[in-house]
C-alpha cells in the first residue's frame, strides 16, 4: 500500500511541480503563436505538436494544468467547506434552520441553472482580464457545488446525533465544541475528503462546459477544460492521439488524489 501511495504522491508531485514551473520543460508562452508551424505533429521542437494556431501544445498543457489543478481543488474545497458548514448548522441550529436549509438546497437543486447562468453572464461586465474571469469561474463553481455535499453532511450529522456513542458522550458531559470537533469531525472527515476528490474532475469538466455560456476560462488562457474541448472532434483525436494529453493529465492526477485519499483512510 505504501508503495502505491508513494507512487501516487510522486506522480502528483511531478504534475504539480511541472504545472507550477512550466519553464523547466518549455520556454514558449501559452499564447505564443508559431503561425508557420500550425498543426504540427510531435517533434523535437514541439514535443506535443502545435495546435491550429501554431501554439505549443506542451506549453498550453502545462499552463492549463496549473489553471485547473490549482483552481479546481480550491473551488472543490470551498464548495465542500460551505456544504459542511451548512449541513452541520442545519442539524444543530434548530428546527427552523433545518427547514431553511431544506428549502435552500431544494431550490438549488430545482433551479434551471442554464438560464440562471446565462442571465448571470449577461449581468456581469465584459471588460475583465482573463485572470479575473478564470478566478470568477471557479468561485462560481464552488458557489454552485456546495448544495449536493451539504445534504450528505446534514444526513451524516443528523445520524451521528442519534448514535449511542454521541448520546453517551453527551451524557458524560463532553462539551459540545469538543463533540463536534473531535467526534463528529472524525466521522465526517472521510466523506468530506471523498467529496473534495469527486468534485475536482467534475469542476474541471464543468469549467469547459461553462465556456459555451461565455463563463469559462477565456482565450488565450488555457485550462484542462478548454483544452479538452478540442476532443469534440472525434475524428481529429483518432488521427492525432497526442491531443489526448489533457485527458491523461486529468485522469492521472485524479487517480493519484484518489489513491492518496483511500490510503489515508485505510491508515
Amino acid at each position: 500500500m505504501s508503495f502505491i501511495r508513494s507512487l501516487a504522491l510522486a506522480l502528483l508531485g511531478f504534475i504539480v511541480v511541472l504545472a507550477l514551473f512550466p519553464g523547466i520543460l518549455v520556454s514558449d508562452g501559452y499564447d505564443e503563436q508559431f503561425r508557420d508551424h500550425a498543426d504540427e505533429p510531435p517533434g523535437v521542437r514541439f514535443p506535443l505538436g502545435t495546435d491550429e494556431l501554431g501554439r505549443n501544445r506542451l506549453a498550453r498543457l502545462l499552463y492549463g494544468t496549473r489553471t485547473s489543478l490549482l483552481l479546481a481543488p480550491a473551488a472543490s474545497l470551498i464548495g465542500v467547506v460551505l456544504g459542511l458548514s451548512a449541513g452541520v448548522a442545519a442539524v444543530f441550529g434548530g428546527r427552523w434552520t433545518d427547514r431553511a436549509f431544506e428549502f435552500v438546497t431544494d431550490l438549488m437543486g430545482s433551479l434551471p441553472w442554464l438560464f440562471v447562468l446565462i442571465a448571470l453572464r449577461a449581468a456581469l461586465p465584459l471588460d475583465v482580464s482573463p485572470l479575473i474571469a478564470t478566478t470568477a469561474t471557479f468561485i462560481l463553481l464552488a458557489a454552485l457545488g456546495w448544495a449536493a455535499p451539504a445534504r450528505v453532511f446534514r444526513n451524516l450529522a443528523a445520524s451521528a446525533k442519534t448514535q449511542n456513542w454521541w448520546l453517551q458522550a453527551e451524557g458524560c458531559g463532553v462539551p459540545p465544541v469538543r463533540l463536534w470537533c473531535r467526534y463528529l469531525a472524525a466521522s465526517i472527515w472521510p466523506v468530506a475528503a471523498t467529496q473534495v476528490w469527486i468534485n475536482i474532475p467534475v469542476f474541471v469538466l464543468s469549467e469547459a462546459n461553462l465556456g459555451l455560456l461565455g463563463l469559462g476560462v477565456s482565450e488565450p488562457v488555457p485550462s484542462l477544460g478548454n483544452l479538452m474541448r478540442e476532443l469534440e472532434n472525434v475524428h481529429a483525436f483518432s488521427t492525432r492521439p497526442w491531443m489526448l494529453a489533457p485527458v491523461v493529465v486529468l485522469a492521472s492526477s485524479t487517480l493519484a488524489l484518489y489513491v492518496l485519499a483511500r490510503t489515508r483512510e485505510a491508515r
Binding site: E52, L53, I118, L126, P130, G214, S218
Partner: protein
C-alpha cells in the same frame, strides 16, 4: 430550363420508384418559424426555400432571374409598378387553386405592421408598404410608393401563401410540404403532390419522395453521421472537418468557391452607450479603426482558421458577387511600420509595450463573439495576438448568442463585436437596414434619428439612390461608392469571405453545387438517389 437535365436519370427512377426515396441531412438549428413571412434565420430560410413557391427565383447558378409562378414580368420605367403575369393551372399542396388573390393575401401578411420582418422592410418605402392591384385572376401589379429597381429580385424571398386554404400554414406551392415536425429531433418533408413543375419527359417533380432533416448543432457529430452513411449531404462544412474528410473520402467533399458570407468585426460607436468617453473617442476615430484593421493579418486568418478555404475581405461582397463587387477597393496594408505610423498620427504612443492614447489611457478593449463557434474563437485569438504586437490588450469574451444580441441591440454594453453575415441576397437592397443610418441592423450605431457623420449621410443618400434608380449601371455605381466609403471609414472591419465547402454521398445524383445558399439543394427538384 427543365429540358437541360438528363433524361437518363429517369430510367433509373422508374426502376427504383417502388421504394420511396429519402434524402437525409442535418440542420444546425431548428427553424424559428414556419411562417414564410417571418423568416429571419438560416434554418427557416432553408425550409421556406424547400416548401415555398415564389413568383420569381434568383438562379443560384447564374445569379439571374428565372420564371417560377410568374411567367412574365415587367417593371415600369419609373420603377414604381411591377406587373406580373401569373402561371395558370397551379394548385397548392392542399388542392386549393393559385391566383392573384393569393399574391394580394401574401403581401398583406408580409407587410402587416403587427409582424415586422426584414423582407417587408426591403419592399417598403419609408412607412409605405407596397400595394397589390389585381388586374384579373392571373395578372397583378405591385405598386411601390417610391421606385424600387430590385423589386423582381426581392420576390425570391416571398413564398406565396394560400388565401383560401383552411390550413394556410400547410398549403404550399414549393416542391415539398412539412409532414412531421418533432422539436429537438427531426423534420420530415414529403413531396408536394400538386407541385406544378415537370421534367422534360413530363414526369412530376421532385424526384426524391421525402427529406428527413435532423437537428444537429454539433458539426463534428454531423460529420461522423456522414462518414457512417446516416446522412447524405452536408451543405456547409467547417474547414477542419473538410480537411479530415478530404483525406479519407476525397471524392465526397468539394470546395465550391468563395461564398457570399463574410466575417467581420466592429466597434461600438453608439453615443449613448455606457462606455468611458475616451473609448468612445477611440472607436469613433476613423484613423483608429483603420489602424486596427491594418494590424490584423487576414491571410493568417484564411490560412490557419479556414485552412486556405477563404479569401481576405476588403468589403461586404466578395468578387463572386459578379455584379455588385467593387474591384477597385484597395487591399489592406498590413506592414507593422505603417500601422505604427497610423496609430501615431492619431495621437497614440507606445511605451513599455503598451499603447496609450494622447491622455495616457492604455488601449485595452474587449472583443465579444458568440460562444461555440470555434472558427470565430480562433479568429479572436489571432486578432488578440496581432494587436498585442502593437501594445494593445484585447480581452476575449465569448457569449451565448442571446446574451450577445442583448448587448448588441439593447444595452450596447460592449466595446467590439466579431460576427459573420450569411448573405443570401446578392442585391444590396437586401442590406438596406444595415447601411441606412436609421436601420436597426446598422450595428455600430443603430437606429439613428439623423446620420451621426457626414459619411453615413452620404451612404444614406447613395443607398436610397441605388434603391430608387431603374438603371442598373446607376445602381452599381452608387453601391460601388458605398463600398469605397465603407472601405475608407471601416465601420465594419471585414476580415475574410469563407469558401462554401460541401460534401455529398455518391448515391446522390444531379448535384450542381454553387457557392450561393442553399448551395447543394438549390435544384432540389432534380436531385435523385441511386441506392
Amino acid at each position: 430550363m427543365i429540358a437541360r437535365y438528363p433524361a437518363v436519370a429517369l430510367l433509373f427512377l422508374f426502376v427504383a420508384s417502388a421504394v420511396p426515396s429519402e434524402l437525409r441531412f442535418a440542420m444546425r438549428s431548428e427553424p424559428r418559424t414556419l411562417n414564410p413571412a417571418l423568416v429571419d434565420d438560416e434554418a427557416s430560410e432553408l425550409i421556406r426555400f424547400l416548401t415555398g413557391g415564389v413568383l420569381i427565383r434568383v438562379s443560384r447558378s447564374t445569379q439571374k432571374l428565372e420564371s417560377e409562378l410568374a411567367t412574365n414580368w415587367a417593371l415600369s420605367p419609373d420603377g414604381k409598378r411591377l406587373r406580373l403575369l401569373l402561371r395558370s393551372g397551379v394548385r397548392f399542396s392542399d388542392g386549393s387553386p393559385f391566383d392573384a388573390s393569393d399574391v394580394d393575401h401574401t403581401f398583406r401578411l408580409l407587410t402587416d405592421p403587427a409582424h415586422p420582418n426584414a423582407t417587408a422592410d426591403a419592399f417598403r418605402s419609408g412607412d409605405k408598404a407596397p400595394v397589390v392591384q389585381k388586374l384579373n385572376d392571373h395578372e397583378v401589379v405591385i405598386v411601390f410608393a417610391t421606385p424600387l429597381a430590385s423589386a423582381a429580385r426581392l420576390l425570391d424571398q416571398v413564398a406565396i401563401v394560400s388565401s383560401r386554404s383552411q390550413k394556410p400554414e400547410t398549403a404550399v406551392l414549393g416542391p415539398y410540404q412539412v409532414s412531421e415536425y418533432r422539436r429537438g429531433s427531426h423534420m420530415l418533408l414529403r413531396r408536394n403532390p400538386n407541385y406544378w413543375k415537370k421534367d422534360s419527359t413530363g414526369r412530376s417533380l421532385p424526384y426524391i419522395d421525402q427529406l428527413r432533416i435532423t437537428f444537429q448543432a454539433n458539426r463534428e457529430l454531423e460529420a461522423l453521421a456522414f462518414r457512417r452513411g446516416e446522412i447524405d449531404l452536408i451543405s456547409s462544412l467547417d474547414a477542419r472537418v473538410y480537411e479530415d474528410l478530404s483525406r479519407d473520402l476525397p471524392d465526397r467533399v468539394h470546395d465550391l468557391g468563395t461564398s457570399m458570407d463574410s466575417e467581420f468585426l466592429w466597434f461600438n460607436q453608439v453615443p449613448s452607450s455606457s462606455l468611458p468617453d475616451y473609448r468612445k473617442q477611440w472607436f469613433q476615430s476613423t484613423a483608429f479603426r483603420q489602424a486596427i484593421s491594418s494590424a490584423i493579418d487576414r491571410r493568417d486568418v484564411s490560412r490557419l482558421v479556414y485552412k486556405g478555404h477563404a479569401i481576405p475581405a476588403v468589403g461586404p461582397y466578395p468578387p463572386a458577387n459578379k455584379l455588385w463587387f467593387n474591384p477597385f477597393l484597395p487591399v489592406h496594408n498590413e506592414k507593422a511600420d505603417e500601422v505604427r505610423k497610423m496609430f501615431a498620427a492619431d495621437g497614440f504612443r507606445e511605451s513599455g509595450g503598451v499603447l496609450r492614447d494622447a491622455k495616457g489611457n492604455p488601449v485595452v478593449f474587449t472583443l465579444m463573439t458568440n460562444a461555440g463557434n470555434k472558427a470565430r474563437e480562433q479568429i479572436a485569438a489571432l486578432i488578440q495576438r496581432d494587436l498585442k504586437r502593437f501594445g494593445i490588450q484585447v480581452n476575449i469574451a465569448t457569449l451565448e448568442f442571446r446574451a450577445l444580441l442583448e448587448r448588441m441591440t439593447k444595452t450596447w454594453q460592449y466595446d467590439a463585436c466579431l460576427l459573420g453575415l450569411v448573405n443570401v441576397d446578392l442585391d444590396p437592397n437586401g442590406m438596406m437596414n444595415v447601411w441606412l443610418s436609421s436601420g436597426a441592423n446598422h450595428q455600430w450605431n443603430p437606429s439613428q434619428v439623423k446620420p451621426a457623420t457626414a459619411w453615413e449621410n452620404e451612404i444614406d443618400s447613395l443607398m436610397k439612390l441605388q434603391a430608387s434608380s431603374a438603371l442598373e449601371s446607376k445602381r452599381v455605381a452608387a453601391f460601388r461608392k458605398v463600398q469605397s466609403i465603407v472601405r475608407e471609414q471601416e465601420p465594419f472591419i471585414y476580415l475574410v469571405h469563407p469558401n462554401a465547402l460541401g460534401a455529398w454521398a455518391p448515391a446522390l445524383k444531379n448535384v450542381k453545387p454553387v457557392a450561393l445558399r442553399p448551395s447543394l439543394l438549390w435544384n432540389i427538384e432534380y436531385l435523385y438517389l441511386s441506392r
